[in-house]
Symmetry: C2
Subunit: 197 residues, 2 copies
């Protein structure tokens, strides 16, 4: 065994513990607190195991989807979580995240740093069916949480139905059945007054 | 699409949000609070992506390892987390967990309930190289946390070096290089007084 190689891997494993401290906007289903990025990444991963049959493309590589989902938010250790409806925050987001990716993935041995970075780039650029499916789940999960928590962050930030449709309709490109389901939840939330016009 | 099928999948996804509320003994690396099962499952999964090269067997199916790790603690939604050094608590653990598995996995459509249950059984019985590797990581991660938090739960519960060796030496059956590393951490922790005799 290359001892230095294992040291680097362990250093990375210790570093990414910080993802458990990156708080997202989404509340837990019981509304007791906001969830964090580590919990979110886990939740999405189990969703991928269950829902890949709804992907439009026939041969989704679920292993690849899982790997992308497990690491997709690591850059937020440095860059922080940016609320998807925060236009100002999203302006500098990509720059912050690229800088973070450069630092964090390079803690790993070179081959693994390269592998993780490629996975992250693939997710960010939506360049494969797997990346598009992973991104669809990344939208569906908070939508599900908001729908189950009386509007959750939608209500908190006075988000409109139009904004939610615009944000989530790309689910349709990857998984029409999931978008059909999500669209119903949006209509329901609007009818209950959880979403503005 | 079978609407009832998707409904069941969503019901399961909502139910497992509760894993984020199941607190473990292990502290975060910054000692600010205990971690929960969802965070732990995520952390182990990234470790599997990185460390499979250290598995003794040549052809570990990492996809299978990930799937096992992502769902291995779901039963604790009903059964609770049992501290590994709590002998009384561990006496009734298996019964509690089997009852929990019966309820939780059966929220899913029958084929997926069966698939998830088989994965969980495989993990619990350590019947494959993948299950043994997943179990090795499930031991290594808290050891790493305790080692990095001045003894953490070892110190809190007056755990001895002997107990920690007994608990963690099965890592050696799956990944000798990781056990070699872990054993060094145990010696170090003992020398620093974080572990009793």
């Amino acid at each position: 065994m290359d001892e230095n190689r294992l040291q680097k891997q362990i250093q990375f494993i210790v570093e990414i513990d910080k993802l458990k401290k990156i708080t997202r906007q989404t509340s837990l289903m019981d509304r007791s607190r906001k969830e964090n990025d580590a919990e979110h990444s886990w939740h999405l991963s189990v969703m991928a195991m269950l829902l890949s049959e709804h992907a439009k493309e026939d041969h989704i590589d679920v292993f690849r989807v899982l790997q992308m989902l497990l690491i997709h938010d690591l850059v937020e250790i440095d860059a922080g979580d940016t609320f998807c409806y925060d236009e100002a925050g999203n302006a500098g987001k990509l720059d912050r995240e690229i800088k973070a990716a450069d630092r964090i993935f390079n803690l790993l041995p070179a081959d693994q740093a390269h592998y993780f970075r490629k996975l992250w780039d693939e997710f960010e650029t939506r360049e494969s069916p797997e990346a598009r499916f992973a991104a669809a789940l990344d939208r569906l999960q908070p939508l599900l949480h908001n729908s189950r928590t009386q509007g959750g962050t939608w209500r908190e930030h006075h988000i409109s139905r139009h904004q939610v449709i615009q944000r989530n309709s790309p689910i349709n490109n990857s998984a029409p059945a999931l978008w059909e389901y999500a669209a119903k939840l949006i209509v329901e939330a609007f009818e209950k007054g959880f979403l503005g016009e």
